[in-house]
Amino acid sequence: MSAYESECCTADQPDATISLLTKKDFQSAQEVKWCPGCGDFGILSQVQNVLPKLGIPREKIVFVSGIGCSSRFPYYLNTYGIHGIHGRAPAIAMGVKCANPELSVWVVTGDGDSLSIGTNHLIHCLRRNLDLTILLLNNQIYGLTKGQYSPTSEFGKKTKSSPLGTIEQPIHPIPLALAAEGTFVARTVFADQAHLGKTIEAAARHKGTSFVEIRQNCVVFNDNVLGTFTDADTRGDHWIYLEQGRPIRFGKDGRKGLAMRGTQPEIVAVGEGGVREENLIVHDARGASNSQAYLLAGLAPPEFPTALGIFRQVEKPTYDDLLMDQIDDAIAKNGRGELAKLLNAGTTWLVE
């Protein structure tokens, strides 16, 4: 899966002694308090797998979260961490990163936390392209508050706060992240640990805001929402794995493929009716425009399978670099600020 090859490292230069860190070094002493069977466990485990690979000293890593089951993440990682307030993690993380751009800063959030109360901060964080890694644990429900619908719950879903079914169209995190100018936008699912791990690692290695939607299962309040994935038999018909530079195929033995008809995507049977692999859309997360990413992000059941993988991955200057550049430039131009000079600036006069 070439799309996952690393390109650069977010934080400081890796330190040789650091690579000796293991998964265990990243486990905190705190007892993990999710429900037995919760999808969050596997995600935590993959994050703990990925961290040692990054070569970043533990003390240079900060996890920031909001409020929700998913947002308890920082407690379980033996790094620096802030368990913030509901929805505000990206804004807290912005402060952390701008105060010390050398840190590797992660945001862990839920569908309620950052697609309901916190949408604003998420969007502005993405467009600023702060060098952060955002993991959005999307279980399509409010877990911690015991089962109200979330902005990603499907239309008509019956929950405690919608006994007759919701009347809201769900929001789709991937197009939203794309519209917010995200430079790294990916989707993975808790149930595919390998894909999960690789996607998280690729996100961590991306310079700029990386956004990963992780589809997760809340066993208590929204169980089996990922039934089409966990059922291995039919999975191939319902899910596509995107791989950079490869034609988009899926279904049993990759017999189906995705092609364009005008401006719209369509499903074709490869090898039938003259359809050849060359007719398929080749996945390119790095194209000049977002349009292919939107197209793939728009694929949705029941007509289409859901795409997993990296929708978009481009390099743009990061906010934190630009911020520090302006400071460096100002110092280069005006000299490092001397307090006495500042205080004495402007029209002054002497009283003797």
């Binding site: 407690y75 961490g81 368990h83 804004a91 402060g95 105060a99 010390n100 131009k333 205080l343």
Partner: protein, 620 residues
């Protein structure tokens, strides 16, 4: 013609202070004329306090009432404490400026008007049905109509400017006249022009010519009966500059971060009248000032907190509506015990209120406006320059006590200016904190036994990784705890930590009688008016005193004792009685409110008269 009424004799009158207001259309350059006058008055030895009065609309049609811009200053000896209750001289560049400002002029004061602008069109825009220069409406003032437009045109003709550029010089004509009136030298102005317009000699020359023309016109046309000389002030030696409250706050933040050896991260969302702090700070990047214009005030607040977590001096600034939005974020900072500063430049509320007007009605919100037991220190600057001092102090306390600190300023302070003695960096306290010894056993909520503050250990420090958040923490360890006794203990500790700050701040001091009939207590921008009023009352032999609080939570330790020494306590505030409530609650004293909530600061006279009535009552 009014002019005819002026006597011919000319003399010098010596006054202790004078108040002048320049008013004109926003395009007329009144802010420039006023601030230049203020500079010269400062350089020539007086204390100068200024106040700008921006038009209520962004850009109203020329000549309209909504477009009037004003600049008021008071200057004289060191007893000049405010920009002046009522101007003695009003320079009005058009009918709208006259109309908007006349009401506040002293009876018998001087009105210098640009009579060329009193055209039917302009009179209509100012909603004058007849020309006030010709009716008797101005009979209680000394009106001096001057053909400024024409005289200015004549003066600048040699420079061959465009009509527009030529017309622009007339503020210098007005300035010239005013300089003559107050017997100030032209030379500094000419030097300033040379420096400012060194790249445009024609403009430089034209402005200079207009300035001189105004000065000479006043001298020779014998418009004024008298020339005034104003007493100079005795100020502590040193180098001075004028600062507004917002400038001073910005400087204070930079200075404090600098003395703490840390980067300053100032996260803010624009809002009147706090935006200039952001503007000012964003100019000083070479001081490692990182300004973040966030998407809203909530983000600004928590970004500042995040920055503090990561080791910077995190600060945010806003005004009322933004303060309401920061309530939750500030609560998180209280709980995580991270140092940060929130500057709230108060404006008239509630809700959007009157965004360009001043008020002090956020005090109780500052003290109580967060859910749960959520104490944080609240400081307030008393004067524009004091914004420097108190901002610095806010950072000092934040860092030392690991707490968010609220600093209250207000619309009046933000745009008023006064002389500030420039401090040398060494005069400012060193805010660096000692690192925890490397070997020491670490726990994020293990407190310093004296300050009760927890250690500020920032990411990047090896072997001290820890997690904090908004849930209640176990005393010491800082892990999440739902234990009942622990919660009570932590609530107590957080409260004691803040209360203990009273031992670390200067005791309250009174000016005036050490005990007596009445103590006037104020806070914030009422300082000047109260100080001046109490001075007058003391001169008049009253047994009164003034106490000005700059620390509102906690109060200075000696406050209760002082309160007990006076028969009565009066609390003038630009609100309905916030400090008054706090004093009554804490000290069970019958403090009386003197509320004023009309978007304006107190006049000296209002306080003085109120006290006289009260004391009269006392002796009756």
């Amino acid at each position: 013609m009014v002019q005819a009424k002026l006597a011919k004799e000319k003399e010098f009158v010596q006054v202790r202070s004078a108040t002048v207001r320049f008013a004109g259309d926003s395009g007329d350059g009144m802010q420039l004329a006023g601030s230049q006058f203020a500079d010269i008055a400062s350089m020539t030895g007086t204390v100068v306090r200024t106040l700008t009065d921006f038009p209520s609309e962004i850009r109203a049609p020329a000549g309209s009432l909504g477009g009037v811009s004003g600049f008021q200053l008071s200057f004289g000896d060191e007893e000049v404490r405010t920009p002046g209750d009522e101007p003695y001289v009003l320079i009005a560049m058009n009918p709208a400026a006259l109309k908007m400002n006349l009401a506040e002029l002293q009876p018998g004061g001087i009105v210098i008007v640009n009579e060329d602008e009193f055209t039917p069109g302009n009179l209509a825009k100012a909603a004058y049905s007849s020309n006030p220069l010709e009716t008797g409406d101005l009979s209680s003032f000394r009106v001096i109509p001057v053909s400024m437009t024409r005289l200015n045109e004549e003066a600048v003709r040699p420079m061959n400017l465009s009509r527009k550029d030529a017309a622009r010089c007339k503020n210098f004509f007005a300035l010239g006249m005013t300089l003559w009136l107050y017997d100030r030298p032209l030379q500094p102005m000419l030097e300033w022009l040379m420096d400012k317009f060194r790249k445009n000699k024609a403009i430089m020359a034209a402005n200079g010519a207009s300035l001189r023309a105004g000065y000479n016109f006043a001298d020779t046309a014998e418009l004024f009966r008298v020339q005034h000389t104003v007493a100079t002030a005795r100020l502590p030696k040193g180098r001075y500059r004028r600062v507004t409250g917002n400038e001073a706050a910005a400087l204070g933040l930079i200075a404090a971060a600098n003395r703490a050896g840390r980067a300053l991260v100032y996260a803010s969302y624009p809002i009147t009248p706090a935006s200039e702090i952001l503007h000012e700070l964003s100019k000083h990047k070479e001081y490692d000032v990182r300004t973040l214009q966030t998407e809203d005030e909530i983000a600004a607040c928590v970004a500042a907190m995040g920055a503090s977590f990561a080791g910077a001096i995190g600060a945010t600034g806003t005004s009322g509506p933004g303060l309401s939005l920061k309530a939750e974020g500030l609560g998180l900072a209280v709980m995580t015990e991270l140092p940060m500063v929130c500057i709230n430049v108060q404006r008239a509320g509630p809700s959007t209120g009157m965004p360009t007007k001043t008020e002090q009605a956020d005090l109780l919100m500052a003290v109580y406006g967060r859910h749960g037991e959520c104490p944080m220190p609240v400081l307030a600057a008393a004067t524009p320059a004091d914004c420097f001092q108190m901002t610095f102090e806010a950072v000092r306390l934040a860092v030392k006590y690991m707490t968010p600190v609220m600093l209250l300023s207000d619309s009046f302070l933000s745009s008023s200016a006064e002389p500030w003695r420039v401090l040398a960096p060494e005069e400012l306290p060193d805010l660096r904190i000692a690192e925890l010894p490397a070997g020491e056993d670490f726990a994020p909520y293990r407190r310093d036994p004296k300050t009760l503050s927890r250690p500020w250990v920032v990411p990047g420090t090896p072997k001290r990784e820890h997690r904090i958040g908004g849930l209640e923490k176990l005393d010491g360890a800082g892990t999440v705890s739902y234990d009942a006794a622990n919660h009570q203990r932590m609530v107590n500790l957080r409260a004691e930590k803040i209360a203990g700050i009273s031992r670390d701040i200067p005791p309250a001091e009174v000016t005036g009688a050490k005990e007596g009939d009445l103590l006037v207590i104020g806070w914030g921008s009422t300082y000047g008016a109260i100080a001046a009023a109490v001075d007058e009352l003391l001169h008049a032999g009253r047994r009164v005193a003034h106490l000005h609080l700059r620390y509102l939570n906690p109060f200075p330790a000696n406050l209760g004792e002082i309160l007990s020494k006076y028969e009565r306590i009066l609390v003038p505030e630009n609100n309905m009685g916030h400090l008054c409530s706090l004093l009554r609650d804490r000290f069970l004293v019958n403090a009386l409110p003197l509320p004023k909530v009309d978007g304006r600061t107190f006049r000296i006279r209002e306080i003085q008269e109120h006290v006289e009535t009260l004391l009269g009552g006392l002796f009756r």
